[in-house]
């Protein structure tokens, strides 16, 4: 048994005993071709990356279940659960998230904002289905992610990409309207990345561009300011923004990157746990929004997946939960939860998939071809 399998086995056994999930077999699935031919033109997909990497120890292990009550009790019983999702790429948050979006392991510098090399799922979706810009959105945690909505591909590129929203930039912009001094009141919401010391974002640039985005999003600056004052974290701001986008534009493809959990880099275990609990709650909130919004109810597939895990307590060269530097099985092996339209509930998938399989799988749900992706379609989602 390899290490990836060992990590996933504990999840599988746990879920089976907790929610009575059954094993999903490839034989019971429709073929990818059949699925593509019958793709629902009203299909919507919401992708959530589960906040900056979380380990089994604090989520799906017996000891960890206390931190994910919503995933476990509300979402898992309605889901098809993939117990073994392996990320074989670079374990940096932006490059890994971009790889999920392109279906190919990107190899660019994780700490420099830049478009991915391979076409994104947003580009395949919009170009092949001739969808407007408002039909694909990315809600991202910081400016490193600003260019993940489209690739460097000459065939695709920004004209075919997703609208990328950086909620903290928007907040900074509306706070700027009210007086720059207020910025200091919101540093927790403006924190950009926990991965690298002192990688603070520079807010306030491109004020005109921000103003245009706010107008295009039909955001009320006063309302955003008031709402932000009730929020406890960047991810709460992101989910607020995601709901606003869903209610205003009802996009068919929405990619939400949560990031609070990555506070683990600070070494404060209690804040890491708090981040997991918050992310768990926010995932349930998002599912509730999907179920209560007529534009989404009954036609939306929700996919929740960490971008990768974190180092194990005993991994040589690591420092436990704090980082994701060792490349161990604990850091590379995660899970995926699929709910909603077309998903077989209470099922679990044993076989390993890779994080780059998500883009081809989503392409399959829309009936488009992620032709440059390296990942494989996921028939169990059909």
């Amino acid at each position: 048994m390899n290490e990836h399998h060992r990590v996933s086995l504990s999840r599988r056994e746990f879920l089976r005993s907790t929610i009575g999930a059954t094993t999903a077999s490839l034989f019971s699935m429709r073929s990818y071709g059949a699925r593509a031919l019958s793709a629902n033109p009203r299909q919507k997909v919401v992708i959530v990356t589960f906040g900056g990497g979380a380990r089994d120890d604090e989520t799906f292990s017996v000891d960890g279940q206390q931190y994910i009550p919503h995933l476990l009790n509300t979402l898992a019983p309605q889901s098809c659960f993939f117990t073994q999702v392996i990320n074989r790429g670079i374990l940096g948050h932006y490059v890994a998230t971009a790889s999920i979006a392109t279906g190919a392991y990107e190899t660019f510098d994780n700490f420099v904002a830049q478009p991915p090399e391979h076409p994104t799922i947003f580009e395949y979706f919009r170009r092949d289905l001739r969808r407007p810009a408002e039909d694909a959105w990315v809600i991202a945690p910081g400016d490193l992610f600003a260019q993940m909505g489209s690739s460097r591909s000459r065939r695709y590129g920004p004209d075919a990409g997703a609208e990328v929203i950086l909620p903290k930039h928007l907040l900074a912009s509306v706070l700027g309207d009210a007086g720059g001094s207020q910025l200091d009141s919101y540093p927790e919401l403006l924190r950009d990345t926990y991965e690298m010391p002192a990688a603070a974002a520079t807010y306030g640039a491109d004020a005109e561009q921000m103003h245009q985005i706010i107008q295009r999003m039909k955001l009320d600056p006063a309302q955003l300011r008031a709402q932000a004052a009730t929020l406890a974290s960047p991810d709460e701001l992101s989910v607020y923004m995601a709901k606003h986008v869903m209610r205003t534009f009802a996009p068919s493809l929405l990619f939400l990157t949560l990031h609070d959990i990555d506070i683990a880099h600070s070494g404060a275990y209690s804040l890491y746990l708090e981040g997991i609990q918050r992310t768990d709650r926010l995932c349930a909130e998002l599912w509730s929004e999907i179920e209560s919004n007529p534009e989404y109810k009954g036609k939306t597939t929700l996919l929740i997946m960490p971008d990768f895990g974190r180092d194990g307590d005993s991994d040589p060269g690591g420092n436990g939960f704090q980082h994701h530097r060792t490349g161990s099985a604990s850091a590379r092996t995660t899970w995926m939860m699929a709910l909603g339209s077309g998903i077989r509930q209470k099922s679990i998938v044993h076989r390993p998939i890779e994080s780059i399989d998500l883009a081809p799988a989503v392409a399959g749900l829309f009936g488009v071809d992620a032709r440059q992706a390296q990942g494989k379609p996921i028939p169990e989602l059909g």
Binding site: P197, G267, Y269, P316
Partner: protein
């Protein structure tokens, strides 16, 4: 020209030219790390210097054909990775180097191959060394009384490998006796200091607060490498301010990191740290490598202890964890920010969550030590003062004292007899 500073630490390796020639025969991707260690020789701890000398001695014992054969796999990978065209500096480790390597599709294989090469050379080095009796060591982890550790939380980290014991009386007296001694019992620094040639890196006291300077009017005997998160505050604040100027590109970040290493931090450091330049440099490297070490006291304590163990293999490392403040409303998790600067609200201690943090971080210190063969003969004690309890991991063969209830004096006696080979 003298190659020794006043402190007695040589400024250059004893065989600099020969070792540089050895590095030149190594594959390109091994050179930055090795060159950096040579360049930073005076800042290396004795253990690191000895290990490096052993490494070069073993590497030089390979015939050219043997060395070529050993490195063939790595050179082949470097060719596939296009390393020959890479622009990174070979003089030292940089973010640019790390980034170029990590972005390669061959990165996992490269890591494995580097590990294989180092393992082979170090195995030969170990074979050349005389067999030494493993030294007795002590890893002491203290969660002070102000941290409300829950027994169940604490037990889960230790129950499988450690035995629990109870402490009677004032737990703090144990640490006091250990560091300052008692009427008929010398302190650990006294005991180690009485042995010839003991370096300060043999004994570390790492404090999330400032217990050492406030718990007694006495000063512990040297040798001692003592670090206090609280007393480093001016240093931390100044360091954080400069760290926050790092630009968003790798070459710029490398320049800032190099600048931070060159900066004279004397005006912001405690006097004791200024008298130990090697320890001061250790703290700079610590701040650059551990994200939370600048912000949270227990994260500092854990990372400092783990790095001390990795780099210096001390005979005694004592770590005292501490409190962190609650995240403030609308400043809260402003990691890498100075909370006092961004909010006028007073700090408010967060005892329950500080206890959660300290409980797991204490275990991480022991896990860091347990990775190394030097700690096969280590006694580990983790004490939760609020529970009047501790957990003990005893090395094989150590006859633990009878019973499971100790007074602070009895525990101190047991520990000092152990470390001085009398137990």
């Amino acid at each position: 020209m003298s190659t020794h500073k006043k402190s007695g630490h040589p400024e250059q390796p004893p065989q600099l030219d020969a070792w540089q020639n050895t590095i030149a025969r190594m594959p390109i991707t091994l050179r930055p790390t090795l060159n950096q260690q040579l360049a930073e020789w005076p800042t290396l701890f004795p253990f690191e210097q000895a290990r490096l000398a052993d490494f070069f001695s073993a590497a030089d014992s390979y015939s050219p054909a043997e060395l070529s054969s050993l490195m063939a796999g790595l050179r082949s990978l470097e060719a596939k990775m296009g390393i020959a065209d890479a622009s990174f500096s070979q003089n030292g480790e940089t973010l640019e180097f790390a980034s170029q390597i990590a972005r390669s599709a061959y990165y996992p294989q490269w890591r494995g191959e580097v590990q294989r090469v180092f393992n082979a050379i170090e195995a030969r080095a170990a074979g050349e060394q005389k067999q030494r009796l493993p030294q007795r060591r002590l890893v002491l982890l203290v969660l002070p009384r102000n941290l409300p550790v829950e027994r169940q939380t604490f037990s889960q980290y230790w129950q499988t490998s450690a035995s629990e014991f109870q402490l009677t009386g004032d737990c703090e007296q144990f640490l006091h006796a250990l560091m300052y001694g008692e009427a008929n019992a010398p302190s650990i620094p006294d005991l180690l200091g009485s042995q010839p040639g003991v370096d300060p890196s043999e004994l570390w006291f790492i404090d999330a607060e400032n217990w050492l300077s406030t718990s007694s009017s006495k000063t512990p005997a040297t040798p001692l490498s003592a670090l206090s998160f609280a007393e480093l505050k001016p240093f931390r604040d100044q360091f954080l301010a400069q760290l926050n100027t790092i630009p968003r590109d790798l070459s710029g970040a490398d320049q800032v990191v190099a600048s931070l290493r060159r900066t004279d931090w004397t005006p912001w450091c405690p006097a004791a740290l200024n008298s130990q330049p090697r320890l001061q440099r250790f703290v700079v490297d610590l701040f650059l490598s551990g994200n939370g070490a600048l912000i949270f006291s227990s994260a500092f304590a854990e990372w400092a202890a783990s790095e001390a163990i990795r780099r210096a293999r001390p005979r005694v490392v004592a770590v005292r964890f501490g409190m962190r403040s609650k995240p403030k409303p609308f400043t809260s998790i402003a990691i890498f920010e100075n909370q006092e600067k961004v909010s006028v609200l007073p700090d408010q201690a967060d005892p329950p969550n500080s206890a959660v943090d300290a409980a797991i971080l204490a275990r991480y210190v022991w896990l860091a030590a347990a990775r190394y063969p030097e700690y096969e003969q280590a006694l580990c004690l983790c004490i939760a003062e609020n529970l009047n309890a501790g957990w003990m991991i005893a090395p094989p063969g150590l006859l633990q004292p009878g019973g499971r209830v100790f007074s602070p004096a009895e525990l101190n006696s047991f520990v000092t007899r152990w470390i001085t080979n009398r137990a």
